[in-house]
Symmetry: D2
Subunit: 143 residues, 4 copies
């Protein structure tokens, strides 16, 4: 069964390249960190997104993103990307994200990405069954 | 008077660095293009954002972004970033964006960024009067 | 005949995203600007690099880069990327770059990239004849 | 005593954002990975580069970089950044880098960065003594 509350955490550090002259992380990088979280979510659920792309020629094109920035992130700060599967329909997948401080649980940002499943030419397709199961239930579902 | 319908166009090209292995522009770069559009909007309104930061120590921190991706952008494709001031309150500024093909008027993406005016320590402040006037009326207002 | 001294200029501006907390452009971005210069060099010589990749399945993989940073570049500064073809052998192409201030001719940086011509699997190949001619002589050679 | 052969390893994964349409990691990102390696080198030697910048107002401006690309890196590939202090003179620091596969020891790239120690205005300065000791001998030197 799908556990609506399950999430995957991965830990990152702000790179110097990711700062801007305001002295904090540039806001555009948050979308990249969401992507890292998404990738880790797949890995924790038993598959690599790379493998899905290569074996099924299905892609999760980003159709919509939004992000709210609650507190700035400094260079070298360590933070957690917490990723959650929010919705999975036949051709649309929604992920939710929080960037948090692991110790204090302070939330730096919250965001969401909506993806359309497409083939290599950008045409909408169904989510490949095998990977859909993994995304929902994870590795544990096979036991 | 503020012209609600006024906008600033600037033309960009997709860089190789901005593509990903899906063969199109990576979605995160759209936020950077919005920033370029915002910067050009200021310039067309008679000031540089850099100048505002340096002379007033006021910053437009990004508080929220959203973007909808309507059609992919290929490497080397030329496109227009159309930037519009959507709202300006004492401490909050909202910009809207469209990425469009100049000839066909096809829209590649639509987005919005909401900014809080802060000082160098991140504390909310009022928008500096001189630049507020420019942002709303532009250079023409002085004539 | 190849004109050893010919070069292509294109004008860029430092983006906010390209700055870091030192308050100047992050050094890694210079390689991206070189790429933009290279792309413009091809265009000025009568072809798009995209077209070459797509019609011949030949790629210019970067084998080596170097860059010397002579003066920092500020956010919003306008500068010229001057690109030159330094050497063209059967499977290896070398480009040289200067980032300069158009008015004062001050040089911000100098660099070089060496490329190997490969097929889509990364195997070394000869440079496609048609594009080799364009790269050396440019559009003018056809007249 | 300085151990010429000492190095610091840190493990990274290629992000989707870091790939380009050639289907491998974009060459410009290697400089960012070097920076991550450098930052980890400092941390393993008992200080954070952030701390050095903030407490001494001394910066390691990049004066020169070079990189040789030996084998491409795929999306999601895990690799090691091996960072070494190659030379430390009063105002100049040189780091060397290798990107390697931890298991096979295959080398993906080799590079070098040369830094000038400056103050906040970009003027050359001496390396702060306390951090110089740490950089050379590391935390262990205090025992």
């Amino acid at each position: 069964m799908k556990n609506e509350n399950s999430y995957t955490d991965c830990t990152l550090r702000v790179r110097y390249a990711e700062t801007d002259q305001m002295g904090v992380a540039y806001h555009g990088n948050y979308l990249i960190w969401f992507e890292v979280g998404r990738s880790e979510f797949c890995r924790q659920h038993g598959f690599s997104y790379q493998e899905m792309e290569q074996t099924t020629q299905r892609f999760l094109r980003v159709a919509q993103v939004q992000c709210r920035y609650l507190a700035p992130l400094q260079y070298d700060a360590e933070f957690v990307v917490r990723t959650q599967l929010k919705a999975l329909r036949r051709r649309i997948v929604t992920f939710g994200y929080q960037l948090i401080d692991f110790d204090s649980k302070k939330v730096y940002a919250r965001g969401e990405t909506i993806h359309v499943v497409t083939d290599e030419n950008g045409r909408p397709r169904s989510f490949p069954k095998r990977f859909e199961h993994l995304l929902i239930d994870g590795r544990g579902s096979e036991s």
